[in-house]
Amino acid sequence: MEIKTFKKLDTKVYEETLENGLRIFIAPLKRNGISVSYTTLFGGKDISFIPEGSEEIYDCPPGVAHFLEHKMFDRKGENVFNFFNKSGTYNNAFTYKEKTKYIFQGPTNFEENLNFLLDYVATPTFTKTKVEKEKPIILEEARSNFDNPINMAFDTAMKNCFHENPYMFPIIGTFPSIEAISKEDIEMCYKTFYNPANMILVITGNVDPVDTLEIVKNNFSKRNYSSNKRGLKLKYDEPDSVAREYEEANMPITNEVFYLAYKINKKKLNMDLYKINHYLKCLFILKLGSLSLFNDEGLRSGELLGQLGSEIIDIDDHIIFGIYGEVKNATETLRKIQNELGDLSIEESDLELLKKSTLSNLILMNEQVTGTNNKIEEDVCKYGKVVYDVYDIIKGLSIKEYSELIKNMDLSNYTIAIAKNKKTS
């Protein structure tokens, strides 16, 4: 095991890669709780791929990864929920666009729980009956998603942002695509992507790293993985332009919710993704967020109904810089936002201030069992590794580098989605 340390933050991480390719990260923390996440790099966007040993593309209906996540809870023998409930342990699973993650959290019964997690993810049983039985449940979940205006705005923006990349589909799928998912699709996805070589295991909290690694190794010793190759994900030749620049979604709501997605070519930025993320966060806070005149004036005038939100999404050759919020009049607010982003320059003193507050919060890392688990897991999924020198990276952010970044940043490709009541407007 290799021992790594988050520099200056006295949090140690024990790293190991098993022969079958599984990457393991264990961070012992002096807390009561234990948090475990087991993640496959397979999510909502992966609907077409070349299965291992095949030469043909296999196409699935959108929503297959999420459907598969639901069906992972079916198995011969003990029901997954029942097993964790017996010890009062919280367990759940989440599907994202680029990954699916299975978790449990609880202070007791760790060894049994960990073994069970590895077991159930390794041995699901899919049947046609159970797949059919799940459809009404997922359709109900989809209904409640589609009734949520911010989800609706996001889904619409993503649909219009891309020409080729299946990132354009909602994670949950669409009503017809959910209906169309078959047991065969689910099996094929499972076989292709639920392979240790395509997965990571992160354990944080009240654990001993050596004992924990033993448990994992023993568990895998009873399984044979014929190879550690992964199925092949397709590469998409995604242009810089968006597929559609504007769309309104009709919803029975009083106010308006918008999602503005800038599609930016990553290569042209010529900078480490980790840094891009931080600089864009600063940009948002200072131009449109909590430290901006835009926010203060918008609230005072009644245009904004709360602070805007933002996110940075990394998709192959592009990043999406997303800005969203609930407002009185989306068209008017969007005009002002774009006006505000006409000048991307910021003050050096403001950047230094944001660095200071970010750095001071970093020292809380070794108190946060689930937070630290998420951080490690997200780092590995996004950057392929844990970013241990986060402290130094943030300390090293500079106005000069920021200026380089914005000089290369092209905000001319974007799409706008607005959820609003078309009946009343």
């Binding site: 807390r31 009561n32 709780g33 929920f81 029942n82 409930n85 017996k86 010890s87 009062g88 342990t89 919280y90 959290q105 609880g106 202070p107 007791t108 039985k133 799940e134 459809k135 009404p136 449940i137 997922i138 359709l139 109900e140 979940e141 209904r143 409640s144 589609f146 009734d147 205006p149 009503f175 017809p176 029975p252 709501i253 009083t254 106010n255 909590s290 430290l291 901006s292 005149l293 203060d296 609230l299 005072r300 009644g302 109904l305 709360g306 009185k328 403001d350 201030l353 944001l354 200071k356 507050s357 970010t358 001071s360 919060n361 020292i363 809380l364 108190e367 069992v369």
Partner: protein, 422 residues
């Protein structure tokens, strides 16, 4: 963790001293009677008090000053504890051991100064900030329906008893709101600071005398009534015929909210048995409702119970297809009956107990829930975390069945989704 209550003129300090956390968290709880007017006023104070202050009339300068103090965070908030309203002023900051010597005292002092010196003019709150807040709150009330899950919950409470403490009627709040201006709100704020009972909780590795010296210098009140309060809401009547309300909507999913009232609960039932009942009926994936409605029949994605024993209020919540409304209600009623009959697996009792203990154990990892727990122990005469972990094991199946007889279905509210979803 060492707990100490220190009685001072005008307030009590509850110090939870521990080196387990790198932060210091402090909450000032002002406790006063709950009525519609004070509820609306407190809602406004949440934003008016700390959006800007006398020292920092500019919002951005204020936010920057906080960021510069190693990201010190302050908040004004409102809580409803049964028959009482609570105004919270809270601050959290990183312990000076990890920032700069002298910052503990400086941070507390800074926070108190901002708490007690909002921006005012002509004997009222700053008019522009007040109008902004009022407008935002008004928008929130008008657009409640945009969030169908919250809306159906509030409508249920409204239908259960328009005169009840917990009844929330947007129209009524709007009426109250119209009568509030920057001047009478400021008088209300001053009244809260002067007359509401004040209990201050602080958790972290911090020196008692240092804290007391800052508090004493900033808190100028002489009297504090710290006699034990009865927070419980008792219902004047329990409905004998169940009330059903169905409201149409243009959403695609229907929201089902079933409201219950409880009566004559013993302290043991309120603290322990009500949790067990809710957990077995609809607490998680092993509950009766989850199993019957989702597991066996695929009729929903979520169904769960929630409630507040202090308000003698309990509810079942779910999102369903409008074609299945009757069916789900009927199954839910059967599950409620099963609780009365004791027709559930004993293993559910054991599992719920373990879950209860685990949640407490994990909460001990974080300062905010520990502080809230000490406050609960003090205000509501709740058992301490250690005692609760032991006492939960005393709950028997008979206790749960007895509790089931004291809970009565009162109102069924459905926000029907009429939009054709597929």
């Amino acid at each position: 963790m060492k707990y100490e209550k220190i009685k001072r003129d005008g307030y009590n300090l509850h110090l939870i001293k521990t080196d387990k956390f790198r932060t210091v968290n402090m909450v000032l709880n002002y406790v006063g009677p709950r009525d519609k007017k004070s509820t609306v006023c407190l809602e406004l104070l949440e934003m008016v008090t700390l959006y800007v202050t006398k020292d920092y009339p500019n919002r951005i300068e204020f936010a920057k000053a906080c960021a510069n103090m190693y990201d010190l965070r302050m908040r004004a908030g409102k809580q409803q504890w049964g028959k009482y309203n609570v105004f919270n002023l809270s601050v959290s900051f990183i312990n000076e051991k990890y920032t700069k010597k002298g910052m503990n005292k400086k941070s507390i002092s800074f926070a108190l100064k901002q708490f007690f010196n909002p921006l005012t003019s002509n004997g009222g709150f700053d008019k522009e900030i007040f109008e902004m807040t009022k407008k935002l709150y008004k928008e929130e009330l008008i657009s409640l329906k945009d969030n169908p899950e919250l809306y159906s919950h509030l409508r249920l409470k409204e239908e259960m008893g328009k005169k009840d403490f917990y009844s929330y009627t947007a129209a009524e709040e709007l009426n109250v709101l119209e009568k509030i201006n920057e001047k009478n709100l400021y008088s209300f704020y001053k009244k809260v600071l002067k007359n509401y009972d004040l209990e201050i909780f602080i958790i972290g590795d911090i020196d008692k005398d240092e804290v007391l010296s800052v508090l004493d210098s900033k808190i100028k009140r002489k009297i504090n009534d710290d006699t034990v309060k009865d927070f419980k809401i008792n219902h004047s009547k329990i409905r004998s015929r169940i009330k059903t309300v169905i409201e149409p909507s243009d959403f695609s999913q229907s929201k089902l909210d079933m409201g219950f009232k409880t009566e004559n609960l013993t302290p043991f039932e309120r603290q322990y048995v009500s949790y067990m009942y809710g957990s077995i009926l609809g607490g998680g994936t092993d509950s009766l409702l989850f199993d019957e409605v989702r597991g066996k029949r695929s009729l929903c994605y979520y169904i769960y119970t929630t409630g507040d024993a202090r308000s003698n209020f309990f509810q079942i919540k779910s999102g369903i297809d409008s074609r299945n409304i009757k069916k789900v209600i009927s199954i839910a009623k059967k599950c409620v009956q099963k609780m009365k009959d004791g027709d559930f697996d004993d293993k559910l009792i054991e599992q719920s107990k373990k879950c209860y203990i685990n949640v407490i154990t994990e909460n001990e990892d974080y300062p905010a829930p520990v502080l809230a727990d000490y406050a609960g122990t003090y205000f509501f005469e709740k058992d301490s975390m250690e005692i609760r972990k032991k006492k939960i094991s005393e709950v028997t199946k008979e206790d749960i069945m007895n509790f089931a007889k004291k809970i009565h279905l009162d109102t069924i509210y459905v926000l029907r989704g009429d939009k054709n979803g597929d």
